[in-house]
């Protein structure tokens, strides 16, 4: 699959400011940090959730628990792919019961990843509440899923891909809109 870069959606600086704003929004709309926990959806939700937790720590001194969720086993398309994707472990070392959980991911698109993430969470316990925080909402929902905390909303077409590149994974820091070419 060949892609061509169309335009930059967020620069490194803009990502930083967006995360600052999102972190404060989460704490504000949760009425504080009580029972709050962040769970990053693999892959890029993970560094995002860790950064959000660090911002909260810096500004309020509170350590919110952060976990990592791998949704591979909960995907709804596994029976259609020729080779099963590699599974990774969750890393959630706190109980999920009665927690006020914020799922963190880079891009919200069809909503299928979030549905899978919720299935994964319910296998671990019964959270009091689950809300979603994403860096980019690109529309085109195929399931009734919504985000409570959105960095930026972008209009996209079906052939376009939103590429979030983060230092921890991609060794660069920006969000690009790319297009598939035949």
């Amino acid at each position: 699959m060949r892609v061509v870069e169309k335009r930059q959606l967020l620069s490194a600086e803009e990502i930083g400011r967006t995360l600052q704003r999102l972190a404060h929004e989460i704490v504000e709309k949760s009425g504080g940090t009580k029972d709050l926990a962040l769970i990053g959806v693999r892959r890029r939700g993970v560094p995002l959730s860790q950064r959000l937790a660090r911002i909260v720590k810096t500004s309020s001194g509170v350590n919110i628990p952060v976990g990592t969720l791998d949704i591979t086993l909960y995907r709804d398309d596994l029976s259609t792919v020729a080779q099963q994707p590699v599974v990774q472990s969750n890393e959630i070392d706190f109980p999920v019961d009665d927690r006020d959980i914020v799922l963190v991911d880079d891009v919200l698109y069809t909503g299928r990843t979030v549905r899978a993430a919720m299935n994964g969470l319910f296998d671990l316990g019964r959270p009091r509440r689950i809300r979603l925080c994403v860096l980019i909402d690109r529309g085109h929902r195929e399931l009734p899923v919504e985000a409570s905390f959105i960095g930026s909303t972008v209009q996209t077409s079906d052939t376009e891909i939103v590429e979030v590149r983060l230092q921890e994974i991609d060794n660069e820091e920006r969000v690009m809109l790319v297009d598939r070419v035949s």
């Binding site: 909960y74 398309d77 596994l78 259609t80 099963q84 472990s89 299928r112 990843t113 296998d123």
Partner: protein, 323 residues
Amino acid sequence: MLHRLEHLLGLETLTREQVTFILDQSKPFQEFHRHPLKKLATLRGKTVALAFFEPSTRTRISFATASARLGADIMNLQAESSSLKKGESLIDTVRTLEAMRPDGIVIRHSSSGAPHFVAERLGIPVINAGDGTHEHPTQALLDALTIRDRKESFDGLHITILGDIIHSRVARSNIHLLSKFGARITLCGPAMWMPRELESLAPNIRRVPKIEEALEGADVVFVLRVQTERINEPALSAEEFILGYQLTAERLRRAKPDALVLHPGPMIRGLEIDPLVADGPQSCVLDQVTNGLAVRMALLYHLVGGAPVDSSENSKEQSSAAN
């Protein structure tokens, strides 16, 4: 990209990378067993046929549980009620099973090579749960996972295998697996159960007749069961075997202080293994059972999951989940 494994028939022909892949993929399933809710929908709609032509409790239950936890349905075939006893040939039995359209078959059979025979003729993934005296690959994989969790690497590890080696498919699979990673292997048992040909199975393998010498400096000790069902008459009386080859606490002290003791089960306490050792701090038998579930879930996920091997979907590139 790893060459897609279609079947798991044995470890002899797998590469080091393929074995490492299976062990690595077992880790998320180890973590899965700490979940309060141990039920996935990953293989929902798939059926796994368990064709056990030899008696088995632990392996059969392990595969059945692994399949069920992945959400698959199970087709159960047990030797006692098998049409094989009524004179039906192996190929007809499995063709009957295939007509019921399972998505994968786990097979245990008294003939070495039976799983290969079946794999060549049916269009579905086959997992070898033990064939004759040939291999028992999932046992060796769970043993390797148990060892790897405690020792940093297999390279240079001193492994001692005790007992009825010639009849042991577990021993063969372990030899094939561990030697791929540079382990040094010492075999020890009564001479008639340790033919010279065993030394050609792998590089860095030796036979030692005396148990004390065989255990000297060992990092891992495998204790095998005496396979009385496979031999025509015991070559050794039980008393002689215990005297010469039982793993006692005192003999175990010859091995390294942090040496691991593994047994594929079922154990015959007081025969090949001293109960003190079986229940002692170095014994890993319970972890082996837990790891068996993880390994089998990983294998079923990768082999039975996904689009069928010969379907047109096979040409589709591996897609990543749409967000």
